[in-house]
Symmetry: C2
Subunit: 379 residues, 2 copies
């Protein structure tokens, strides 16, 4: 059978450039290793064993996941230290226990006493748990808000005192770094992130409670933090692929986007200077995070030197509306032509697909499909 190329695969499909992926992985891995911080990549973006294995190279194999489906999948793939990074609830503990009994150190997160007490009750039957307390370092999502840290010592005290429970440490995610688009702004958020999570760790230690792991991280703060003092691990996620949002923020350069959606031109509408592609709301997602700083990227931009300023400006379920501020080059984009669309937010776009068609721009410009990586979606 002939080598499969991207002209042979169906549209829409998800294309992963292995050369860019490898550069992205190496950049983050090297940076954190040099900083003396362990990389615990957040695999919610890639959701792929193959990418996960590459991502932990040079570190100790610990990872972060966002769903129990990912936890099962990566455990089956041989990963042994897995942090489930979304606040645990009692009904999910049987799944945690099942994987822990198989020898996987699947760790959980909470920020409240109800769950801490439920963990203690569950551990009383002989099972063990490893627990992080979540800190809100300014993102306003989950966690005990710093500097008040309401209830920190109560929660930690309950967990620390319980047989079978290891209080693994504290963790935070500086999600507000996504709303900065200068290096100074990101570095300021990174400093908030560090001070909050290290501050929480110090509060525990001052109370005589051990706090071995101090875990932080987002892609922007991992890339641009000026000081990791006190942090033991970082959990960036989207850096593996990057996307228009990260490029707009300044977490990566324009050449660092490893992911794209392959789509076909299905019709021309010169009376409104548009064309349609067969990648719409499901194939691209309706995430428009990058529009915070660059409204004209729409739901994704068309890759290619001659395609500057051409974007998916609207989408319905299976139709992407492609437009531009200049006349569209219809001659370069005939009906049936294939385009590659750079995603606005890679984590959300990728979730529509069950596989990556892997190409390598350093081999042959990214023409041949050199591998297929699977993905674990759902919960």
């Amino acid at each position: 059978m002939a080598v499969q190329t991207i002209d042979d695969i169906p549209t829409p499909s998800l294309i992963l450039d292995r050369a860019i992926l490898r550069r992205n992985l190496k950049r983050m891995s090297d940076r954190l290793r040099e900083a003396g911080v362990v990389l615990r990549p957040h695999l919610k973006t890639a959701k792929s064993i193959q990418v996960g294995r590459m991502a932990v190279e040079g570190h100790d194999g610990r990872i972060t996941v966002s769903t129990l489906a990912e936890a099962r999948y990566f455990a089956a793939g041989g990963f042994k230290d897995i942090l489930y990074g979304v606040g645990i609830v009692p009904a999910k503990l049987p799944v945690i226990t099942e994987l822990r009994r198989q020898g996987v150190n699947l760790r959980v997160v909470t920020d409240n006493l109800i769950v801490a007490n439920a963990l203690v009750a569950a551990a009383s039957s002989g099972d063990t748990f490893s627990v992080f307390i979540e800190i809100d370092s300014g993102a306003g999502r989950a966690g005990l808000p710093f500097p008040e840290l309401p209830g920190l010592l109560d929660i930690a005290g309950v967990l620390h005192a319980a047989p079978g429970i290891e209080l693994a440490g504290v963790m935070t995610h500086a999600g507000h770094s996504y709303h900065q688009n200068t290096l100074e702004g990101i570095a300021t958020v990174a400093d908030q992130e560090r001070r909050a999570v290290v501050g929480a760790a110090e509060a525990l230690r001052a109370a005589g409670i051990p706090c071995p792991i101090v875990s932080a991280g987002s892609t922007p703060t991992a890339m641009h933090s000026l000081d990791f003092a006190g942090i033991t691990e970082m959990r960036p996620g989207v850096y593996v692929f990057n996307d228009l949002d990260q490029a707009c923020i300044g977490s990566c350069g324009a050449g660092d986007l490893a992911l794209s959606v392959l789509a076909s031109v299905i019709g021309h509408y010169p009376h409104r200077n548009q064309l349609l592609v067969d990648a719409g709301a499901l194939a691209l997602s309706k995430d428009i995070s990058a529009q915070e700083f660059q409204p004209k990227v729409g739901f994704g931009t068309i890759a290619g030197a001659a395609m500057d300023g051409i974007a998916v400006v609207d989408c319905s379920q299976e139709h992407g509306f492609v437009g531009a501020d200049r006349p569209l080059p219809y001659g370069d984009l005939p009906v049936g032509a294939r385009v590659r669309i750079l995603p606005n937010h890679a984590c959300i776009t990728a979730a529509a697909y069950d596989r990556y068609y892997v190409v390598d721009s350093e081999l042959d410009g990214g023409k041949s499909v050199v591998d297929i990586y699977d993905r674990i979606n759902g919960w």
Copy 2:
């Protein structure tokens, strides 16, 4: 084994209320049958054999799909007349041919001469095709814009003259009906839709070209059109489930929403009057269509008499931020509690799930899981 209830299933999960589904299906089926119009339901919303079979009851079994994956799946489920409603491109013709050779009348859509000529070339080897010409009745998506209908007779002439090609008719989708929220506004769009597609059919017939099927339809126009004269079939889709968007438009009532996302409360944040649930951007989608008319529905609203005005106001990948203009009733929503979130746009929300947990509010208030329906996602 005990009956499974919605307290036993994982979160997030997709819950389908069969009682509401049946009412929605019957309402549309009856309405169109009484109007003398055949229902060709658009199964892009449900993507489910079980729902599809119920949806065509009282009609002749014809359906619409939005992906080739749906086409394969419904063909395997016994459906014989399937319209693939997204503009076809030459590279997809082998899949069309494969299913047609199995006896499935899988019909395609185009609005341009390039594809018409490619169909003629493909048919020259002995294969057959059934083709609709798409008309833009005002939505500004695909199709030849009415009333100019540029190229209509050229495209139709090429298809009509070709051995092995049946010009099945003309079709349109009044997507702009989604941007009306009065019955008068929707009826006006429905009239545009009807006049455009019937006008195109008449233009063909005046040129001596048969046009057996005149196909229109969106859920709003199918529900509120005052006149179907000249239309032979309608293709509504989201009516099977309805959602906040359809309720805001006025296509359905507040009690007609069959779909919800089951989620767990994972944390309380009274300092900002919020709580978090484990249903975020992937579990709900980032589609905010309904915010056009009701911004406060956010990414979905919490179902229940005591939950009025409580919505998912923001979301990250796996976190939904729940807020309200009034103090949240934390006592009714403890950590670990389960809530049901009514989706903003059902078609997009459902696409994250591989199954429906089916309940029946007329049996036991929707407590027991009475069935599981599968879904076909991807392409």
